[in-house]
């Protein structure tokens, strides 16, 4: 495994397309206990300005993992040992709602690396729809526990 270093700043990770399944959103809602009717009932969603039931605020995680089965290899190539990985920070800027059946494009890159007692990596990502409009911006910071 390569040694984690600042050299990976700017490195682009797997860029992928993903079609968002309605059932996948339902499964996610169930797992997080989200019962707000706007997520389950199209009429309720339309009442508050959506065109369909939207994906919940943290659904991007499901796109991150299910959309990119290569993520372990990506991390390995960057020198990130997933066995020692802990999540430190997560941030989303919401631009447009994410809906079922959308075909989205996800692209991410390494924004920062800090080497110290705890090594730290910050990734930034953009989720876009088929028209190339940005839906969401993501920033994730992970730490790698020392030996």
């Amino acid at each position: 495994m390569v040694q984690l270093s600042k050299d990976i700043i700017g490195t682009k990770l797997s860029n992928f397309e993903y079609e968002i399944g309605r059932e996948k959103i339902k499964e996610f809602l169930l797992a997080i206990g989200e019962e707000n009717p706007i997520y389950h009932d199209q009429e309720e969603a339309k009442k508050v300005g959506y065109s369909d039931t939207p994906a919940p605020l943290t659904f991007i995680t499901s796109i991150n993992f299910w959309g990119n089965p290569q993520w372990l290899d990506d991390f390995d190539k960057l020198g990130i040992d997933v066995k020692k990985l802990l999540h430190l920070k997560e941030s989303y800027d919401y631009v447009k709602p994410i809906y079922p059946n959308m075909k989205v494009n996800y692209s991410s890159q390494v924004a920062d690396v800090k080497i110290g007692k705890m090594n730290m990596v910050t990734l930034v990502a953009i989720l876009k729809d088929e028209k190339d409009d940005t839906l969401l911006k993501q920033e994730s910071t992970i730490i790698i526990r020392p030996e």
Partner: protein, 139 residues
């Protein structure tokens, strides 16, 4: 869902809290399936120990997701422009988590009205697991 008006919200006020748990191993398995994050530190007690932990820990994102319900149950999520958290402590099976929110800042500048709501998820002893905030835009 009732509409929240900018004028009805005051700095320092708490918004309705939620509680979930006790967290069961099955909840984490279910979240692993939904999110696709099958890291054994969350799903497999034996492997979690081999990785140097006392047992499985909840996905940070599971807690962030549960915490997001404080936001989505209070206001139309369409008005939320940012949601960010810091993971501060590991949550483990058996713990009950209380999620709270408080109006941190209210601003009105050049016709743009926003409020910042601070969020926190802590166990019943008050140990903080996740903290953060979300921004709401009023048109």
């Amino acid at each position: 869902m009732k509409t929240i008006k900018f004028d009805d919200v005051n700095q320092g006020e708490e918004i309705p809290s939620i509680e979930f748990g006790p967290i069961k191993q099955m909840d984490l398995v279910r979240y692993a399936g939904a999110s696709g994050d099958f890291n054994p530190i969350h799903t497999d007690p034996t492997l979690a120990k081999e990785y140097g932990l006392d047992g499985t820990i909840a996905h940070g994102m599971y807690i962030m997701s549960q915490l997001s319900r404080v936001c989505s149950n209070w206001i139309n999520p369409n008005q939320v422009s940012n949601y960010n958290v810091k993971f501060r402590g590991m949550a483990i099976p058996g713990e009950t988590i209380i999620c709270t929110g408080k109006i941190k800042r209210k601003t009105e500048k050049e016709g743009k009205r926003t409020i910042l709501v601070a969020l926190q998820a802590a166990n019943s002893e008050g140990d903080i697991k996740v903290s953060g905030d979300f921004t709401v835009i009023f048109i």
